[in-house]
Amino acid sequence: MLRNWSDRKIEEIVGDILRAGVTVSAVVVFAGGLLYLKGSAWTHPDYRVFHGEPSDLRALGGIWHGALALDARAIIQLGLLLLIATPVLRVMVAILGFAAERDRMYVIFTSIVMTILLYSLFGSGSAF
């Protein structure tokens, strides 16, 4: 009984995090979008050929600096980073929840998922 209650509790918190994360990131992306339209409205970007983003729009540090300097594209990228971070935060909450239930097996499973996510965000850049 107690286990069920606490599973539900985790689910409630997880639901709130997901909703908040999506809302905040959509607002940031929208704000960045307005700035971007204002600044580059009449330019003609060419997306037919893949160039890849400049290095300062590829990693957390550069995006953060750009957003602080009110660079429109960096603000959009920051909003997208917040969106990517939402599921990561959700996994973190699940680890805490399973730890509170003293469910060691699921703490381990969830930590494996967390490690993979963190590797993708922070470790994969140097692989090439």
Partner: protein, 279 residues
């Protein structure tokens, strides 16, 4: 096309994709990449990046509602996410080395397959299956609020098969920037014999985490272009939220048929574009 025109058209197109995707339950992600590459002539890598980002947005938005209703099974989701995130890492790395023509062909095949799945009648789920030792050890068996009121219990079957299919679903998601919800539902529905409501909502719950695993790699590789991802993400998100709201009142049978025809046409077009190298 200048930035204003492009942004407006992208918002409209993505809004329609998100609306139809959520109304029909087929997901907007599958039509985004063909929309961007065929009609907007965007390089498939930018298209995949933008599509993946909007997959996270719609999955998180929808999962927020399902999780609270108690249909999704967090334990099953978390366990299988080990497979999907590993698959997603492999898929995302693969997508940086696979030629874009091959990507287009694989994408087309996935489109055709998901259209086929959506037309296939759902088999009746046998109830009251015996508990499986592994699933019991992993504490996966659960219950959900049934239509008749009260809780309905279910026993999960064949975890290894489900886990393996999930790896494939993750790899496809990372390779093509889609949620691959159809494959996830297949794993939980056919292999693990979960009740339909539980498998669809748990699949949705997992899509966001799976996509986040490849999003980091996409970002590091420069696939996520703000000028495309911004209108696409906002359009799809608004479209799918609106779709979920009107879903209760709409009869979607005809819409589903039309949308799956559109998916078949786009799939054929992607395969053609891949073969002729016009991508």
């Amino acid at each position: 096309m200048n930035v204003v025109e492009l942004t407006v058209l992208l918002v409209l197109g993505s809004f329609t994709a998100g609306l139809l995707g959520s109304l029909t339950g087929l997901g907007g992600g599958v039509v985004l990449v063909p929309l961007l590459t065929i009609f907007f002539k965007v390089d498939i890598r930018y298209a995949i990046g933008a599509s993946l980002v909007s997959v996270i947005a719609t999955s998180s938005g929808a999962a927020a509602a399902y999780v609270k209703e108690g249909f999704s099974n967090i334990r099953i989701g978390m366990f299988l996410e080990i497979a999907t995130t590993l698959g997603a890492l492999c898929g995302a790395f693969l997508s940086t080395v696979v030629p874009t023509r091959v990507l287009a062909i694989i994408f087309g095949l996935v489109l055709l397959y998901s259209a086929y799945l959506s037309r296939k009648p759902r088999t009746r789920r046998e109830r009251d299956l015996p508990p499986d030792p592994l699933a019991t050890r992993l504490k996966m068996n659960g219950s959900f609020p049934s239509e008749e009121g009260g809780e309905r219990h279910y026993n999960v079957q064949n975890v290894p098969a489900g886990f393996s299919i999930m790896f494939g679903a993750g790899a496809l998601s990372g390779l093509l920037g889609i949620g691959s919800g159809a494959v996830k539902v297949l794993a939980m529905d056919q292999a693990m014999k979960l009740p339909f409501k539980v498998s669809t909502t748990t699949s949705n719950f997992m899509i966001g985490v799976t996509a986040a695993a490849s999003a980091g790699i996409y970002l590091n590789r420069g696939y996520i272009e703000p000028g495309i991802a911004m209108p696409v993400m906002l359009g799809v998100l608004y479209g799918s939220l609106l779709g979920a709201r009107i879903l209760m009142r709409a009869d979607t049978k005809v819409l589903r048929l039309l949308f799956s025809l559109v998916i078949v046409a786009l799939g054929a077009q992607m395969i053609y574009a891949g073969i002729t190298g016009n991508i």
